[in-house]
Amino acid sequence: MAYSDKVIDHYQNPRNVGSLDKQAKNVGTGIVGAPECGDVMKLQIQVDEKTGIVKDAKFKTFGCGSAIASSSLATEWLRGRSITEALAIKNIDIVEELALPPVKIHCSVLAEDAIKAAIADYQRKQNNGNGSK
């Protein structure tokens, strides 16, 4: 199977690899997938609490080249977006951008799941911090 140039580029030069402080209140962490399935993505966002804009996004991924590329691309897209805009990122956008073949669509689904999980984690922390629970 041949990889698209964009997948190869993200694989060779992954953007925003790393970790943010998962304890920080303005950081949301999403870990999705499972090792025995061959894919685990960890995606983190750091949000400006005043503006609600994603200031930074980092990832680490265990998985095939397409999984790495999907999560790398997701961090690129997340930066500078509002939470609402971030939630609008759909797996099909990733499929199109990276020209993923059908067998790799699950990689994009996993990336969308990771975005949603990271945002949910951030929102949970914010709500807890406000003493609403």
Binding site: P35, E36, F62, G63
Partner: protein, 404 residues
């Protein structure tokens, strides 16, 4: 050194130039049909076929008449299982095989299971070997065939063929072995090892694709197999169809070369393989060898690199041809069933790489591949959330992963 490097010699091998040279005339001047009995073109082709038959037989200690040519080992495996099940239906309906056989055996076995044949799949230990006591216990009065591969195509482990042959002979059960990977690399002798049926392939031993053989014992016992392909009664009626003369010539030549060079080639393989292993294992932690190192083909190495997914690793080695047990590289989207049978966890099966050294690999290539592996495993581990968790002291296995 020329790139890309081919180190996937369990999948297929390049044609040896000596094999090609032997084949060439049979594509052009000597194009006859070996079944044409009335003219010199036919006689010439027949002579070439009989010479090839002898060369194949000599590699495994058989006689020429016991070699049936097929299109390849998949067909040979099909004839062995289906042919024996049909022919010996009156004697019994039980076949014993192993969980790590090639799909040609496993798929034939499951096809037979739908037709009232009972199949026992012997498990293997962590070393990739079957337990002889379990084999003996599995044998019943209804068992007609034991089919155990000589060497495994993923992990290269070599089964105790001689011991299995002794058990089957004692019980009067036929013994088939898929020797596709073992032939030309370990010494096989059908009489000494009490093998009754054996599958062979040319393209795994530097011969051409599209030609294989089935050894079928003629004496003590005389084995008979119901054909799968009908039409013309070629090959003692067991496999009809016009013979692939250039293929047979090439197959024979490939066998002759293997028989002559096996010993020196194995010494070379062992040195290269051990060098590859040493270079990788000394520079990486949490790299695990799959299967026994002691009972193993000299050209095989199979390693799982924890926290790194196999396909992504191969992507980093884009100028090296290897294979992986990762699901992402298989058509079935399941990780290697062979590694699973060994009890290697699924996460480590996804992380496995198979190295298959071949006749034309050099020390320089081995060093290049080892360095590339080390470099890419390190790089991908920096990208791996699992490696990060492990370094933080989290037991990755104990995490409650959200499975789909």
């Amino acid at each position: 050194m020329k790139l890309p490097i081919y180190m996937d010699n369990h999948a297929t091998t390049p044609l040896d130039p000596r094999v090609l040279a032997a084949m060439m005339p049979y594509f052009t001047d000597k194009f006859g049909n070996a079944a044409s009995r009335n003219h010199s073109f036919g006689w010439e082709a027949e002579e070439a076929v009989e010479n090839g038959r002898k060369q194949v037989a000599d590699l495994i200690g058989a006689t020429a008449k016991e070699i049936i040519f097929t299109s390849g080992a998949t067909e040979s495996d099909n004839i062995a299982l289906k042919g024996a099940a049909e022919m010996y239906a009156e004697k019994g309906n039980h076949i014993i095989t192993t969980a790590i056989e090639h799909k040609a055996i496993l798929d034939s076995a499951s096809w037979l299971e739908q037709r009232n044949i009972r199949v026992t799949y012997l498990p293997v230990g962590r070393d990739g070997l079957i337990d002889l006591e379990q084999l003996e216990q599995a044998m019943t009065d209804r068992t007609i065939l034991v089919s155990v591969m000589a060497a495994n195509n993923e992990i290269g482990t070599v089964q105790p063929i001689r011991e299995i042959g002794a058990l089957t002979r004692k019980r009067g059960i036929l013994f088939h072995t898929d020797a596709v990977q073992a032939a030309g690399k370990i010494k096989l002798d059908v009489d000494d090892m009490n093998i009754d049926i054996m599958s062979l392939s040319a393209h795994k031993i530097y011969g051409p694709k599209g030609i294989g053989a089935l050894y079928v014992r003629r004496k003590g016992p005389r084995v008979r197999l119901t054909p799968v392909v009908h039409g013309g009664g070629h090959e003692r009626g067991m496999r009809s169809g016009t013979l692939n003369v250039p293929g047979i010539v090439g197959f024979g030549k490939a066998c002759e070369i293997c028989a002559k060079e096996m010993e020196s080639e194995n010494t070379r393989f062992r040195a290269l393989r051990d060098r590859l292993k040493e270079r990788i294992m000394s520079q990486l932690d949490e790299a695990y060898i799959n299967g026994s190192m002691e009972h193993r083909l000299p050209n095989n190495l199979n390693i799982s690199f924890a926290y790194v997914e196999g396909e992504s690793l191969m992507m980093g080695l884009k100028d090296v041809a290897l294979s992986s047990g990762s699901a992402c590289t298989s058509a079935s989207l399941e990780p290697s069933y062979v590694l699973k049978a060994l009890g290697v966890g699924e996460e480590l099966a996804h992380s496995s790489i198979r190295f298959g050294l071949g006749r034309f690999n050099t020390e320089e290539e081995v060093d290049y591949v080892a360095a590339k592996i080390v470099e890419n495993v390190k790089r991908l581990r920096e990208l791996s959330p699992l490696y990060e968790m492990a370094k933080e002291g989290v037991d990755v296995k104990s995490v409650n992963w959200a499975r789909k």
